[in-house]
């Protein structure tokens, strides 16, 4: 997958000629107009221009109408359309980012919450608007040693790219502490960038703010260049997509892995460390990034099945059919906009399905999902029935001594 600044080919323009001039564009134009994309889109009933229609409008010379609409703000880049397209067109990878970028540039009014998130990300390196200096504040409470490269710049094996929600949000910090604990228990040689790290910007990119993405990429690559490391492991699902799929075209050579498959590879070393019987029934929500986009359906399940006393049950829509939490593509900061158009949050839809399984725990592997699903549980009144835990939090919990509360 390549993004807007591919070294091999300039991005196609959104005109028929522009698309015909590039190989990726020509592929998109082989659409057979079957409508599977619109049918599988979680916001398909309100999205005025699903991929089928965008391509149809292009062919009719009516693309301007698409670019003048704000309807694509509903696209949460969940990769459903791309995963189901019978022609395998790279809709979420190529078409949608192009269209969303053009639309974003023309929006007369960017919804206030999204605007704030983007402005904060540019200025502070995180959408929450917290001081960059506080990005490593969680390290003090990690409970295990966590090396910060600016303080100790020696070469390291794993650069752990923490990401914004994990670093600043209280529930994200729970994830950090758990991740640090598991990495430490595995004897991994790891370090973090601390306050030098900036948002990987994947959601900004997929909301259409490619300029912001470029700025963040430049800054992060410059910081990477200061240190010596073998590979990058990240807790952020969207950060994983950016680092693994976009950054190489900008010069990143190191291999990149998300923490969930990373820990799955180390399962034989982890198993002896699981001391506590958890006694939970767990249902796993496949994140759009790890699941549909990168095909990692089994790795999180391997981890969950290995936990003592855990029974795994599946939701009706699982794996490739998983229902997005609604946080991608800018959706994390568009709930007020969605509400103003009379739409329910996708997370609410998903949580109802989770609760219907009867499970105690909704396991996730993307930091956005934790806060979005916990919100939904509260809103729907299910907070006593079910809790949300990142897979790594469950790993860390299983490593506690059996007597621990």
């Amino acid at each position: 997958m390549v993004g807007a600044a591919s070294l091999t080919e300039a991005p196609p323009e959104i005109t028929l000629d522009g698309l015909l001039a590039s190989s990726r564009g020509r592929d998109l134009l082989t659409c057979i107009q079957c409508g599977t994309c619109a049918g599988t889109c979680p916001y398909g009933d309100v999205l005025d221009f699903p991929p089928r229609r965008i391509i149809g409008m292009l062919r009719e010379g009516m693309i301007e109408e698409v670019l003048a609409s704000d309807s694509l703000l509903f696209c949460v880049t969940c990769y459903s359309c791309m995963a189901k397209c019978p022609r395998g067109l790279r809709l979420t990878e190529v078409l949608l980012p192009l269209v969303k970028e053009q639309i974003f540039a023309r929006l007369p009014d960017v919804p206030a919450e999204l605007q704030k998130a983007l402005t904060n990300t540019l200025r502070y390196g995180n959408p929450q608007g917290e001081s960059a200096k506080k990005r490593a504040a969680w390290v003090a409470s990690a409970g295990v040693p966590v090396r910060v490269l600016s303080a100790d710049p020696r070469p390291v094996d794993v650069l752990w790219f923490v990401e914004c929600y994990t670093a600043y949000h209280p529930r994200g910090q729970d994830n950090c502490r758990a991740t640090a604990k598991v990495l430490h228990a595995l004897g991994v040689d790891f370090a973090v960038l601390g306050s030098e790290e900036k948002c990987a910007g994947e959601c900004a990119r997929l909301a259409g703010e490619t300029g912001l993405f470029e700025t963040l990429t430049d800054a992060n690559l410059k910081v990477f260049g200061k240190y010596t490391f073998n590979r990058i492991v990240t807790s952020g699902a969207h950060a994983y997509d950016a680092l693994a799929h976009e950054y190489p075209a900008h010069g990143l050579a190191a291999p990149v892995e998300h923490t969930t498959p990373f820990f799955a590879r180390h399962l034989s070393a982890l198993k002896p460390l699981f001391k506590k019987k958890l006694g939970y029934t767990v249902t796993y929500h496949d994140s759009c990034v790890l699941g549909r986009h990168n095909g990692m359906y089994e790795e999180p399940r391997q981890l969950l099945r290995a936990l003592p006393g855990v029974k795994l049950v599946e939701m009706t829509h699982n794996r490739i059919n998983s229902i997005c939490c609604g946080g991608g593509g800018g959706g994390m900061w568009l709930d007020t906009f969605f509400k103003s158009k009379g739409q329910e949050r996708l997370a609410d839809r998903r949580v109802r399905e989770a609760v219907a399984t009867g499970a105690d725990v909704l396991a996730v592997s993307c930091p956005y999902e934790v806060s979005r699903f916990e919100d939904s549980l509260k809103v729907l009144g299910y907070e006593k029935k079910m809790v949300v835990r990142d897979v790594v939090e469950l790993l860390a919990e299983a490593m506690e001594s059996p007597g621990a509360p």
Binding site: E113, D335, T336, K339, D375, K378
Partner: protein
Amino acid sequence: MAGNIWVLAEHWRGRLSDLTPELLTLGRELAGGLGGGTKLEAVLLGHGAQGLAAALAADGVLSVDHAALAEPNPEASCIALAALIEQRKPQAILVPLSNVAADLIGLLPARLKIALVNFCRDVRVVDGRLEARCVLYGGKLEATVTVASAPAVIGVLPGSRPASAAPSAAPPVTEVPVELPGDLRVRFEAYVDPEPGDVDVTKQDVLVSVGRGIQTQDNISLAEELAEALGGAVSASRPVIDQGWLPLTRQVGKSGATVKPKLYLAAGISGAPEHVEGMKGAALIVAVNTDPQAPIFSVAHYGYAGDVLEFLPALTAAVKARKA
């Protein structure tokens, strides 16, 4: 010989503002501290507003009556006040920091080329001179400032002193004639009042007030549920109003309403002076903010350094449980 201490007696739409008696308490203290016969004089600019003079706890009232001063007019007020100051040379004039007098804070010292000390939360006499403690950078730092020249304009924040009681005997009123140009370049036309039918936050016993910490318009429903459980209403600080998440009438603070409810619950409000000004008179203030250093905790009676989004539903549940 040093001049007198003046207080600009602020009034609006027929009533003296809450700040005026506070400034008179402060002014009395300063005049006494300077000694040497320094008097406290109130300055009343208006049109037919002399009736308010009786409530002013000052040694005397200087009244400037002119049709152009019937409603707040920065141009007319500045010309009138500047003329008064040039004639009578007070040591200092205490000006309330409110929307009514705000423009004068900037205009007057520039016109007369005299000192301004702004954002004062306290003023004292130290070694025969006025020394002020001023709030800067949204409350994050304080500067202690010596006022080395006279006359000086001193901008005073609400809450510097308790309100003075009305005097037993009305102070003597001196009418001072002032020339104002016939062709003023700024003219008051009319007030535009907000739409009726919405909540009057100044009349509520309980306010659940939301600030930036509420994060999204959606989350305001958490505050509404709590407000309903407590029999009150939702108000907000300016940033929430600026976003358009609640109507202007719900705004508490310098540009909004001043409220004195029995309970003011500040949910995700940092406590910048402009906001605190509007609610510090509440009988019971409970504040919730993730930042334990937030200035709101200096004015609150009880505080919780936690997440508003978790606390609000928890309190709603606790309150409902008590009712059950």
